[in-house]
Amino acid sequence: MKRIGYLILYASLGFVAIFQLFPIIWLVLFSLKDTREIFGSNPLALPQEWKWENYVKVWEGDVGVYFFNSVWYTAIAIILTVILASMAAFAITRMQWKLSSFVLGLFMVGLMIPVHSALIPLFKMFLSVDLIDKPLSIILTYTAYNLPITLMILLGFYYTLPREIEEAAIIDGCSINRLFFRITLPMTIPVMSTTVIINMIYNWNEFVFVNTFISSDKYKTLTVGIQNFIGQYMTDWGAIGATLVISVLPILLAFFFFSNKVVEGISASAVKG
């Protein structure tokens, strides 16, 4: 009986897995076809003719520069977002002050703004401080727009952190900074890894802000590289597929790395409830 139960469980888990895995397979096939075939044939059929030249086309563009920019914008924005959000979560859940729930409310409202409403106001603001076409505008925007969601995810975990450890630490004369950086942060490595993954995906795939605030080729990111293949009347979908594959690979690797941290973190941290 138990065995049948497991069989059904694994069968359904496996079914879901196939469902979730097939976009990657599709994407790779897609990147090796030409536009005609992409639209004309079964998406999961093998290419009639393997169009490796799609990748050549992509490499001929400025992909190296775009790639480098994507990496460092993403990395710096993640570090800023996760640290600032952790500090805020700590202050909101752990420190005692009157306005804490009001400030939390402010962050929550920040979740609700539709990105396209903010586009023209942000452009005007950056223009007035001469940040248009500067990477800083992108990093600041990514950080600010991911702070609310990161904070919200962190909060759920901060509420569940055991207070006894903190109390003991404080009684031992531990400073707040020491408490935060040495005790609280290590305890939250799993959730921090989670937020790192989420931030990474958001920043890596973002293009509305880059497209609007950046004009110089040398500051553009991989996502705007896709535009290189969108024409007035014709679009080279094969090359777009190749760009998508190239841009998903690093994030896939990084994801596997941080995904392990989600589990490892808790066993690594010495402090447990």
Binding site: I38, D130, N177, F229, Q232
Partner: protein, 438 residues
Amino acid sequence: MFKRKKAIFWFAILASLILVLAGCSDDGGDDSTDKDDENADTTISFMHLWPEGSSKDHYEIVEKIIGQYEDDNPGVNVDVEVLGNEQYKEKLKVLSSSDKLPDVGMTWAAGFLTPYVDGKLFAPLNDVLDSGLQDQFVSGTTEAYAIDGNTYGLPLELNIAPIFYNKAIFEEHGLSVPTTYEEFKNVVKTLADNGVAPIALGNKDRWTGSLWYMYLADRIGGADTLTSAIDRTGTFEDPALVKAAEEIQNLVDLGAFAEGYNALSDEEAKSLFMNDQAAMYLIGSWDLPNYTTNEDVPQEFRDSVGFFNFPTVEGSGDLTSWVGGPGVGLFVAENSDVKEEAKKFAAYFVEQWGQQAVADAGVIPATKVDTSAVELPDMYIDVLDELNNASNITLFADVQMSPESAQVHLDAIQSLFGGEISPEEFTKLHEEALAAEQ
């Protein structure tokens, strides 16, 4: 006290991190103002929508023209930004909200440029045209960019929309090119009865369905009916415009359009046609390279494509009246710091473009083409002949209308094709939207 120091320390780290970031970008800023050319004292910023990846031929002509211009005008530097079509429109909009348009850029005709002209962002180019350039344009093209006697754009393309058809499929079913609407409907019926999708239509994009409606309106009501309904000298309640909408729904009922037409993008519809899954496809002549010179398309398919004029309906209408018009054109920003230089560049660009566009990129320019001087595929010659002999070219309806009415029109087209609204409701929606603008 100790704790406070530490806190200040952390805060300082954070602050310096931000400063470093700012520093990075400042350095970057300096780089971008350092021009390749040390002597450059004039920089013209130019934004276009022909990226190298998707429009290599266009892109290279642009680069060549800019190179020549910079060589001929020492001290002038042209700074280019290239964007994809949708992103181009979105960025143009954001830039103009802060009056930061590039010195030279691309615009569409009529309704599209109205808000920019009203906002005094585009410079009148009458002086450029009057210095001899006007004669080089096909008559009627620059007019599409004119508002109240001033012309704000120098058109780069000119298109008409014929019905392309698959000769092989027609032959297989013993069909010949229809010249009347009755014959056309017979073609549709024969194909539908034999399980072949008669017409590929990507009506998710909506302007594609609009082309069909425009032709029916033109043939039934004459060349001016739709145009005058839009410019308010006429009305959308004109019986011919209702009749045209009825005919659309008749075609839908006949099964004329490939399954799922309202869900397909133009690109998906095109692929039906190009994979022999649909017999006809109404689209602008910008698609000619796919049927002539594009090496990525199998020769066999290219050889089997022909085109015909939209047929006359019950004896009325003129076969040589077309839907089409100029596509993108160059604008010069009114508030450009280098307006005169920008105008000079735009004029230079249009002239050079006209000479190279057809031969090298397969784009029919809005300037006159000397067909004897260039080697062109037969289908190009035929289209150019049709252009020369056209009795009328009605500008795409969504381009004629203001952006707001254009959206109403496009949405109504989709609902009309989907059978969600009646022909009367269809014309009423237009009448209301257009009347509200007056």
